[in-house]
C-alpha cells in the first residue's frame, strides 16, 4: 500500500497507515522527494505512530529521506515514535541523531511553525503570531 501524502498549507504530511515493506519505504522516499518540490513545501512530517517495529533498514531509510529533504530545502520531522519502539531503537543504537523528532503530529506542526517564524524574522518579514522571545535564536 502506498503511503498517503497530504499537503497541509506549506507542509506535506506522510501518514504511515500500516507496517511497510522495504519497497514501500523506498517508494515513500521517492514520493516525498518529488512532492516537496511539487508543493514548494517548507517542511515534511512523517507520522510513524502505527509502527510497532522499526528495523535498521527503516531507520536508515528515514534518515536518508531527512537528508534528501534537507537538500531539497525543507525540514523533516518524524513524529509518533512509540515508547517501546524508542527503547528498542536506542538499544540497537539507532538513535536518528541529526533528525528532528516530535511527540505527535501536533508537536511536529508546532515545531515547523516555529522554524518558519524564525526564518521569516531572519529575512525581515513580520511574523504572524509572535512567539515568546528567546524561543529560537536567529543568527
Amino acid at each position: 500500500m502506498r503511503v498517503p501524502i497530504l499537503k497541509q498549507s506549506q507542509y506535506v504530511i506522510a501518514s504511515i497507515q500500516s507496517a511497510l515493506s522495504d519497497e514501500e519505504l523506498l517508494q515513500l522516499r521517492d514520493d516525498l522527494a518529488r512532492d516537496v518540490g511539487r508543493y514548494r513545501s517548507r517542511g515534511v512530517i512523517i507520522d510513524v505512530t502505527v509502527l510497532d517495529v522499526m528495523d535498521s533498514f527503516a531507520v536508515r531509510t528515514l534518515r536518508a529521506i531527512a537528508h534528501m529533504i534537507r537538500l531539497r530545502g525543507a525540514e523533516t520531522v518524524i513524529v509518533g515514535i512509540q515508547p517501546e519502539v524508542a527503547f528498542a531503537m536506542v538499544q540497537l543504537g539507532l538513535t536518528l541523531e541529526d533528525i528532528t523528532t516530535a511527540l505527535d503530529l501536533e508537536e511536529g506542526l508546532a515545531f515547523l511553525d516555529r522554524q518558519a517564524t524564525a526564518g521569516a524574522r531572519a529575512v525581515g518579514m513580520r511574523a504572524a503570531g509572535t512567539r515568546a522571545p528567546g524561543a529560537r535564536h536567529v543568527q
Partner: protein, 302 residues
Amino acid sequence: MTTDLRSHATEARHSRADGTAALLRELVAHLRKNRTQLREEWARRITESKLLTAMTREEIFAEATSVYDNYVEVLETGSVEALQAYARNLSERIIPRGVETHEVLGIVLLLRDVLARSLFKKYQADFGLLNSVLDAYEPAANRIANTVAVGFVQERERIIRQQQEAIRELSTPVLQVRDRLLILPIIGVIDSLRARQLTEQLLRGIRANRAKVVVVDITGVPSVDATVANHLVQTVDASRLMGANVIVTGLSSEIAQTLVTIGVDLSKINAVGDLQGGIEEAERMLGYAVMMPEPPPAEVKA
C-alpha cells in the same frame, strides 16, 4: 537389655520393612533416653565449631532442643511435615540475624554425626546389628538434613524475592511539575533491570503528559559507572526520539570525575548542576518566566 534387643533385631532381619521400622523404634527409644546428654553434646559441638555465632549460648541450646525433638519425631513417624514447618519458622527467626546457610547445614550435619557416634558406641559389640541400625538411620537422617537445608534456602530466596519486589515498588516516580515538564528523581543503585524499567516508565510518562522537557535528577545515585552512564545516554536518546529534551542534574564532582576518567561519551547529555537549576533551565526552554509579584510590604511591627 542388649540380648533382648539383639533377638529383636534378629527377628527383624526376616522381614526387611518390619525390621527397619523396628530398628527405628529402637533408635527412637535410645535417642529419647539419652536426650539430655546428646543434646548437650550437640550444643557443645556447635559452639566448638564456631557455628551460629550470632546467637547466644542459651538460644542455641533452646533451638537445639527443638531441632532434636523434631529430629526424633521424624525418625519415629517418618513424616517430615512438622519438621518442614519448624525449619521455615526457624529460618524466619534466624535469617534476619545473619545466620548463614553453611551454619544451618553445619549444625544439622553435626547432629547427624553426634547421633551416629552414639549409635556406634551403643552397638560396637555387634557389628552386624550396627550395620542394620545404620541402614535404617542414615536415609532418615539424610532426609532430615535435606529438609532443613532446603527449608532454609527456600526461606532465604523468599526474603530476597520479597526485597526485590519492595525495591521495584519503591522505584522511581515520574512527576509533572509544570505543563509539559516532567521530573524523574532517581534514588539508589541503578542496575540494568531498573534502568530499563525507568526508561520505559519515563517514555510512557512523556507520552501521557505530552512532555517537552524532562529533568532527570541523579543526586540520589551513589555511584555511576560505565553501565549506568550508558543507561543514562540511552534514556536521553529514547526521550529525544519521543520529542522530549532531557536535562540531567545532580552530577556530583566525584561522579563527573569518574565519568571523565572512564571516558564515557556525555556529549549528548545536557547537564545542569542541581535540580533547581535544571528546572529553571527547563522553564526557560518551555518559555516560562517565573516572576516575583510586587515586593511584599515591609512588615509592620506592633
